[in-house]
Symmetry: C2
Subunit: 338 residues, 2 copies
Amino acid sequence: MVTRHMKKLINEPSAVVDEMLDGMVAAHPDEVRRLEDSNVLVRRDAPVEGKVAVVSGGGSGHEPTHAGYLGPGMLDGAAAGEVFTSPTADEVSEMVQACDGGEGVLMVIKNYEGDVMNFETAGELAEMESDVDVAKVVVNDDVAVEDSLYTSGRRGVCGTIFVHKVAGAMADEGGDLDDVQRVAQKVIDNVATMGTALTSCITPEKGEPTFDLGEDEIELGIGIHGEPGVERVEMMSADEITERLTENVLDDLDPDEGAEVATIVNGMGGTPLSELYIVNRKLQSMLDDRGLETWDAWVGDYMTSLDMQGCSVTVLVLDDELKELLAHPVETPALTVT
Amino acid sequence: MVTRHMKKLINEPSAVVDEMLDGMVAAHPDEVRRLEDSNVLVRRDAPVEGKVAVVSGGGSGHEPTHAGYLGPGMLDGAAAGEVFTSPTADEVSEMVQACDGGEGVLMVIKNYEGDVMNFETAGELAEMESDVDVAKVVVNDDVAVEDSLYTSGRRGVCGTIFVHKVAGAMADEGGDLDDVQRVAQKVIDNVATMGTALTSCITPEKGEPTFDLGEDEIELGIGIHGEPGVERVEMMSADEITERLTENVLDDLDPDEGAEVATIVNGMGGTPLSELYIVNRKLQSMLDDRGLETWDAWVGDYMTSLDMQGCSVTVLVLDDELKELLAHPVETPALTVT
């Protein structure tokens, strides 16, 4: 058994989220600000009057998710819970109210029981306290499992980034709350993801791996919270891993031949970019073989799981509206589209 | 002793660079292209007529360096050697000639003996074969060691990214070869970096760590090629590590009180963004205490060392010209400034 020990650039484990958020604001003081006594970050200029706000959040440990996507054309607010722990309903409600510019707020929720419950409660609180219109979508793009440790139904993982991008663009273009919710749901209906772990992550508080993996073993179908996957297999080549992930994703989506897609090869936090490019090479070759046309391919760390080594593959089947919204300019700490 | 085993998303170890470059072109087909039978990537539209070209390169394993910085406002060409191995003089010469738009080519070289020798030979070859004007600068920003395993004098590390940015901006603004070389040298004269490793990296060919570190040990003053550092110390907190790195960097630069600086907290490849933000928090607090003013702060993986866990701290002391050139718009796979 490979024993991984905790070696992290942190101070007190209990201070990780607080200090990480401060360090992020210190890096992007013109773009984001932190609400007082809160783990909520918002666009520096929030609330933006006359625009629907798009907010998200969830447990920490997935950086640059969520606050990395704050900015014009994407998110207005991001609530950070402790590592792998939902933010409280009070903080989410505070975020919703701080971001409302009079046209309502869309909450983008990843499908975990804690997140869904706290965001729903927060939406009700915000509606009661300040008469804001609140709508929600629940992202469930992980094709690996139907139910998991933390979910009823499929988990929300890296496909969430496309939901943020598309909803944020529609809001920026002046869409009303129904429009913004509709396009967010369109992404959810057309996106699928599956991931693999070469190593477990190590949480700061626990200080040891959340699951054990042998030297020559990997997990297929992992989530982003240190859950083990659905299948433990012997170490395979990058091409074989990419085939397994991509076949499951495409079987779920079943796109028509000739369909245009956007893809993400997402690093889990401890895997270098060079390896993600090797995965992207095989992914694009498989899509080509299937007669699919890649309209845009993203490669990088978009939704991580602390220091886990591994990756996920996301495919979104596009139409003209989604292409236009993905191409809409955005400027955030983690993503810039010009 | 902690034993780390090779778990990588790769196929044949000998194919890593070739497949990684293909995967990068597949992700950015409108931005970069690969020269035939070569590990050189260039801007899609190279050569750009009437503009000085800026080229760089070196061993692979530092992604997104070098090809991630190809594009308008930054690099015209990037030559990739095998992992931690200099590209050949022939490939570099081919790159110089492919990128020359008639106004000459600046080669940005990191100070390693193999790189310096091969780039210098390449420059002479290119001048003989196609009468191109070639100039060079040698980056040596690592304050940790005076001489190292691979260098006479200081090593070139993450400060190189600022050299690419500033030289590329001056070329994009229409500067001549002397101007471009002058501002590149100005960055080199005003930038300093120091790094730390929590774990060794593992090279694909060797498949095991390049140095051994105990469970509770870290290395200070590491390079980017799996060299051990200059000092092995017990694991410290993020704040203590940041203090050690930053104090060495500032002692070297000795900036005047009130000076404006740009900073990079750079991840070594296996360290998640959340930890880099925690380092940035302390760095910015230290700069503030010293009466320095941060004009721009970058946090992310800019120049990595495969899957090494750790980070480096870079500080560049600015003047008005450098600020203007850093702010110049750039659009590359790894860096966008609008």
